[in-house]
């Protein structure tokens, strides 16, 4: 049976407009105070605890969580508006990004009361940062094949294994390790659990992975019989797979999937000036039409989440389309303007172009490679 696509109409009102205005005013004042410089891919590269703490003080981390856990009880559409404003401005939001987007919602849904009280208010105030320990050297797209395992030890677990592509493990406080707590049976997805581990735990080593840009935000995390008390397991042992995949609609459909290179777009528009030839206008117009449609689709997924539905196929679709549009932005830039890209350059265009270009291969890989997403979409559309 072919399914209906669930992209409900976003219901915007005056409050949403006020939130957008408040975020813009905050960002304008931070910009003029010189506390940050707009960068591309700032949700991965811009790790700035001082800035994150300011957002926490505004109530803009974990804003969708209940007030008793430090949140604002805001909607997913509110969070959509907040996050798209932060990304479009190229603000340094990497310190709290993963905690706000998927760790916090995961703790809220599956964590014990003690876990929720201990971590969520600290995350929401911008003082506690988590990394997600998912991929391994032999497990990329095939995540269920992970080999890191936790064995009972005393009244807790001893975890041994290796994680890769762990962003900001060298800065953050905790990591949630996806690991096997029982051997794989008939069902590949059974026996997988999520366990919270401090990043300074004995037996845990963080090693940098330098990217082609020379940047360091990814790490290897090596665990050698790292002890975690029993209460640090998230949800029931063995239910980690459904917990992780259940958050994918949050993780996949957000505006970071199509706005990572947006600061470069704004700079290109600034450089070409108000009087453009037809060729320039057509390139800008086609890009604008893509971004406008993507904004609506992403906001529609947020609207569906607010209505209590989790549309995984639609979320995968938004990420598939969005990351491909985002990825072509450096290419569009160089069709319009000459550049010698240079990271760290004083020339804003040269810098933003280099940032976007060197990050762009990752756009269609992280959070589900395009090929994986398209499989999810096709199966959702009835291909079996």
């Amino acid at each position: 049976m072919v399914r209906l696509l669930n992209f409900p109409r976003p219901e915007l009102d005056e409050r949403h407009l006020q939130l957008r205005t408040a975020v813009r005013e905050f960002l304008d004042s931070e910009l003029s105070a010189g506390t940050f410089q707009p960068t591309c891919d700032s949700w991965l590269s811009g790790h700035d605890p001082v800035f994150s703490k300011k957002l926490g003080q505004q109530g803009w981390i974990g804003m969708t969580w209940p007030r008793e856990y430090g949140g604002q009880g805001a909607s997913q559409v509110d969070r959509y508006i907040l996050t798209e404003e932060l990304l479009a401005a190229g603000a340094p939001v990497a310190a709290h990004w993963v905690s706000d987007r998927q760790i916090g919602p995961g703790l809220l849904r599956h964590g014990s009361e003690a876990i929720k009280r201990r971590f969520l208010p600290a995350i929401a105030s911008g003082e506690c940062y988590f990394s997600a320990g998912m991929s391994e050297p032999d497990s990329g797209s095939d995540l269920a094949s992970i080999r890191t395992k936790a064995v009972p030890s005393g009244d807790g677990w001893a975890i041994t294994g290796q994680k890769v592509w762990t962003s900001h493990a060298h800065h953050n406080h905790y990591i949630i390790i996806l690991c096997r707590t029982s051997p794989r049976g008939e069902d590949l997805h059974e026996g997988i659990s999520q366990i919270i581990v401090p990043l300074d735990a004995p037996g845990l080593t963080v090693r940098p992975i330098r990217m082609l840009s020379g940047e360091h935000h990814f790490n290897e995390v090596i665990l050698d019989e790292v002890y975690a008390p029993a209460e640090m397991i998230l949800g029931a042992p063995g239910s980690g797979w459904s917990q992780v995949t259940g958050e994918l609609a949050f993780e996949r459909s957000g505006p970071e999937r199509f706005l990572a290179a947006f600061p470069l777009v704004a700079e290109v528009v600034r450089r070409v000036g108000p009087d453009v030839d037809d060729r320039t206008a057509e390139i800008l117009g086609r890009l604008a039409s893509d971004l406008m449609a993507l904004r609506r689709l992403s906001m529609a997924v947020a609207t569906a989440l607010d209505a209590g539905t989790a549309p995984p196929v639609e979320a995968a679709m938004v990420k598939d389309i969005g990351s491909r549009v985002d990825q072509q932005i450096p290419e569009l830039a160089r069709r319009l303007l000459p550049t010698a890209g240079e990271l760290g350059s004083d020339d804003t265009y040269a810098r933003l172009y280099a940032e976007a270009l060197t990050a762009s291969p990752g756009f269609t890989l992280r959070g589900g490679a395009v090929e994986i997403l398209r499989g999810i979409v096709a199966r959702g559309m009835g291909m079996r």
Binding site: M1, V2, R3, L4, L5, F7, P8, R9, E11, L12, E14, H16, L17, R20, E84, A88, A89, F262, A266, E267, V269, R270, V272, P274, D275, V276, T280, A281, E282, I283, L284, G285, R286, A288, S289, D290, L291, M292, A293, L294, R295, R296, L297, A300, E314, M317, D320, I321, E371, L373, R374, G375, I376, V377, A378, R379, M381, G382, M383, R384
Partner: protein
């Protein structure tokens, strides 16, 4: 009007079971569809009741057009309701029964001349939709003082040169020389009416293209499930899954762009950039979706016995009518450039706008439709039916 889902069921029922192949059967089916659209009042939805229309909003008539696109109904409902009916109402002229069509160039190709107490019109237009089947052709004209007019001309009084677009719809040459025009068929209009007509035409073709793209996707999904090669259905192959997923995404993006443009029409805000974005995005989706649909269907999709060609020929025609996607992209891109580096983000986030924010006067107050409630209801679902009445 009725709510959106019952409108969809009503029109879908009316458009079901289009025959394929036999020319006589097909033309009888089309005549019958038109009769039913007229009988049910659907052919004048979106035109104010006081002007002789059926009431309802641009959202409802756009849904009807989207469905005619989805079901390959070759009927001038967009011309009659979205264009001719609307412009006659704007001009305060009466709305005759029957099929109506327009040639509303902003720079008119017809001239109006006073001859004593009488006025006569001369000029010509090419590729006028359904002129050969319409009762009236509403044209824009300029008089000797440079003022703009619309004239409602009986098609029987015009010289018609039949033509077709790729989809087989009438696109006819129309001309007249010193044709007397009755006083009650003539009204002066401000230029923004003709500009808005162009936007409405683009929106109508966009809606029809979304319908055709939905149908092409439906056919592609069905074929990929049923066609077996190398012992497996096509849909089992990762390469085919990639194509089908991309096609689905194109349809979703096109539908999103359409919904945004319809909402802009309802509120009267950001109409030009929303329509420009819609015709651009839907046009590029039509190109890519047609190519993928044909690739998945193999050679069968290129035959006239398989219905896919009805969808792709439609998209290939409509993407070039009322402005190609390239032209609309240029319009939108100029707005982006004018907004500047600091203004591009506020421009992109101005739509979709919350419904109760103050309305900025854009000089096109004609878009305030009765019955519009943009903040309510849910977007037209991309409803893909398992059933398909065609058996190639």
């Amino acid at each position: 009007m009725t709510d959106e889902s019952s409108l969809i069921s009503l029109v879908t029922a009316l458009l079901a079971s289009r025959p394929l192949g036999n020319e006589l059967e097909v033309s009888e089916w089309h005549a019958n569809v038109w009769r039913q659209l007229e009988d049910t009042g659907l052919s004048l939805v979106g035109v104010p009741e006081e002007a002789g229309g059926q009431g309802g909003s641009i959202a409802e008539i756009t849904t009807v057009v989207r469905l005619t696109g989805r079901h390959f109904a070759r009927v001038p409902v967009a011309e009659t309701a979205i264009l001719a009916g609307w412009v006659l109402a704007e001009a305060g002229l009466s709305i005759p029964s029957g099929q109506l069509t327009v040639s509303l160039a902003g720079d008119p190709t017809f001239s109006l001349i006073g001859l004593g107490a009488e006025r006569v019109i001369s000029g010509s237009a090419s590729r006028v939709p359904y002129a050969t089947t319409a009762a009236r052709v509403v044209v824009s004209a300029r008089d000797e003082f440079g003022d703009l007019w619309v004239a409602s001309l009986p098609a029987a009084d015009l010289e018609l040169t039949p033509g077709q677009n790729l989809a087989g719809e009438p696109r006819d040459g129309v001309s007249c020389v010193y044709l007397p025009v009755q006083h009650q068929d003539l009204a002066r209009v401000p230029s923004h009416v003709l500009e808005t007509a162009h936007l409405r035409g683009a929106l109508a073709r966009g809606a029809a293209m979304v319908g055709a793209a939905e149908r092409a996707l439906d056919l592609t999904l069905r074929y990929a499930r049923e066609r077996v090669q190398f012992g497996r259905p096509l849909g089992k192959f990762q390469a085919i899954q990639g194509l089908v997923a991309e096609q689905s995404g194109e349809v979703a993006a096109a539908a999103a762009a359409l919904d945004t443009a319809v909402e802009a029409m309802l509120t009267g805000r950001d109409v030009e950039i929303s329509v420009a974005a819609a015709k651009t995005r839907i046009g590029s989706a039509a190109s890519r979706a047609s190519a993928i649909a044909h690739q998945v269907h193999g050679a069968l999709g290129m035959t006239d016995e398989h219905p896919l060609h009805l969808a792709t020929l439609s998209m290939w025609s409509w993407r070039d009518e009322y402005g190609r996607d390239s032209e609309w992209a240029i319009t939108l891109g100029r707005s982006v450039a004018e907004a500047g580096g600091a203004g591009v983000w506020p421009l992109l986030t101005s739509v979709p706008a919350p419904p109760d924010t103050p309305i900025e006067e854009i000089g096109e107050g004609d878009d305030k439709q009765p019955g519009g409630s943009p903040g309510s209801g849910s977007a037209t679902p991309t409803q893909l039916s398992q059933e398909d009445e065609y058996q190639p």
